[in-house]
């Protein structure tokens, strides 16, 4: 199986603080880690590779320091890494990010076909599966995964908690709902976002760490990707973060007492007053 895992490097969440003056995250001295949900995606990809053979490619869009996240994924067992980065991509919101990553994935697909590197995967040269974590711990939108699948025009299944069956060109999955789960069958290629219930990420091996240290990370810039300038970076971002703030704690609510018909009347009156 030819699997791509999209990961993001984020500040270690327990340490992050917000600068009250500028309303931005104070990142100095804060350790960078792989987004926790992405760890589950990486682990699942490696497990699929161990079962079915093939290759796991990790991709990240970020500044040069994000390379260490790719190397960490390689130390766990991923085969190669791509760093998608360019000044032109700066300021991207989730729309521009998913557009850019989709472009990168198309490019990686091209490279794989050119290299004929999957002759033994038995599934042709293309990418079979894209795995993402459910959401990033800094942005928390959970939009990029679904955005990528939309740009690539492939099916998406979010909140996957178990891969039940894998057959030629098809997968059956357990998708987590708030109360319960549903079973979904999808054709491949597809994009999945995974939840932490799916597995327990492994600790890297020493040999993996050594391999990761010397692994080749391929850079993908605007030059290689040749994306539409109107859809990347700040230019291509329909949304803009105006303000990040800690919400004020809510004052306690009001408790209404009495029989149900009375309470209902009180509630209706209160709502009427609020509206007016």
């Amino acid at each position: 199986m030819n699997i791509i895992v999209c990961i993001k490097q984020v500040p270690e969440t327990t340490e992050v603080r917000i600068n009250p003056e500028t309303n931005t995250l104070m990142r100095e001295g804060v350790k960078s880690i792989i987004n926790p949900f992405d760890m589950y995606a990486i682990e699942e990809a490696i497990r699929l590779k161990e079962r079915f053979g093939g290759k796991v490619t990790v991709v990240t869009m970020g500044p040069p320091q994000a390379e260490s996240a790719l190397r960490e994924a390689i130390s766990m067992g991923a085969d190669e890494g791509y760093l998608v980065g360019d000044r032109a991509f700066a300021g991207s919101d989730t729309w521009a990010t998913s557009y850019t990553l989709a472009g990168a994935i198309k490019k990686i697909n091209q490279i794989n076909v050119a290299n004929n590197s999957l002759a033994d995967s038995g599934k042709g040269h293309g990418i079979d599966l894209i795995l993402c974590g459910k959401q990033a711990s800094d942005g928390d939108t959970a939009q990029v995964g679904p955005g990528i699948s939309t740009h690539l025009n492939i099916p998406q299944v979010t909140y996957v908690k178990k891969i039940e069956e894998v057959k030629e060109g098809m997968m059956r999955l357990e998708r987590m709902l708030e109360e319960g789960y549903e079973i979904i069958e999808t054709s491949l290629p597809a994009l999945l976002t995974v939840v932490k219930e799916i597995n327990e990420p492994r600790i890297p091996s020493l040999k993996g760490l050594m391999r990761a240290k010397s692994a080749k990370i391929t850079a993908l810039t605007q030059k290689e990707l040749n994306l539409d300038p109107q859809q990347i970076g700040l230019c291509g971002s329909p949304t803009q973060v105006v303000k990040i703030f800690t919400p004020k704690p809510r004052a306690g609510g009001q408790i209404l007492k009495g029989e149900i018909p009375d309470i209902t009347k009180q509630l209706v009156d209160l709502i009427k007053d609020e509206v007016n």
Partner: protein, 383 residues
Amino acid sequence: MDYLLSDEQKMIKELAHKIAEEKIRPAAAKYDISEEYPWEVLRVMAESDMFGLFIPEEYGGCATSVFNLCLATEEFSRACGGIAVCYAASALGTFPIVLFGNDEQKKKYLPDLAKGKKVAAFAITEPEAGSDASGIKTVAKKEGNHYVLNGLKHFITNGGDAETYVVIAMTDKTKGARGASAFIVEKGTPGFTFGKKEDKFGIRASSTRELVFTDCKIPAENLLAKEGMGFIVTMRTFDMSRPGVAAQALGIAQGALELAVKYVHQRVQFGKAISSFQGIQWMLADMATEVEAARGLVYSTARMVDAGVKDVSKESAMAKMYASDVAMKVTVDALQLFGGYGYMKDYPIEKYVRDAKITQIYEGTNQVQRGIIALKLIKEMAK
């Protein structure tokens, strides 16, 4: 202190630290109480290639060196001395094969030990032969293509859970110290059974058992090196493993120190954190300096062993003796800093005291170590 570790050494230390914090520390109390063998934790160590640190690359090892073994053992011991000793004792049982095994023996036993699929144990101690190892009574009689073992070993770490045992037995009583030989004995060999499992004060996650040999027939190919080399195999093995024991003690001391420093910051009495009182500060300063001094001895000795320095017996005795004495002192002081809470099993510190004690005793009591150091000094002066 910055020991100017190489990139590879830093990698090993960080990886061992990660395993210690994520897998060992959360399980330490559970195994201390249940005394079950910590296979689950050892499996994680194995999958991270930690068992490969003491086995040459051609047999499945990686980054092989005594220094790296010490780095890993120290980090594991910071989190739990008992679980760490299961790992370190497997190294002890593996060294004789690494140092003296022929190619067939290495090919047969080392790959599984490198993968952590099996663990090893070293067996010399007997009820009547502790510090006086030459007093062993277990015999190995050559009969055709076999040796027949009869005797009893006790206090064997990993006994019962290990698959691969290196056993020291007398092949010729008339030759005294040159009459012992080393054998590889596999668990399940007819005539090889286990006696009781000891109920220990500390390092309770590790298993300590008697080995009973009753007309136990092993193939002649299981002899390590040559007949008569038994004590040489033992001495050379201990030269390699002694820094590891010192590293274990060092890790226990470091772990206790860290817990104590953290606690005194949190504990408030007389309106302040007790860390602001000079008496407490002076205790911490002494503890930290002693741990660092022990570390210096352990790391220097390990480096010498790896560099092939010919005679390290004095230095490795110093490292083992000092690190274990420091571990005992620092863990007891750490418990004192916890005050009444330190005495309660709900808090992790009392376990460190219990785990530290054995490091002053096994692999050569600290009294024997002092004897070695003194004799060496005198010998050097007499030149």
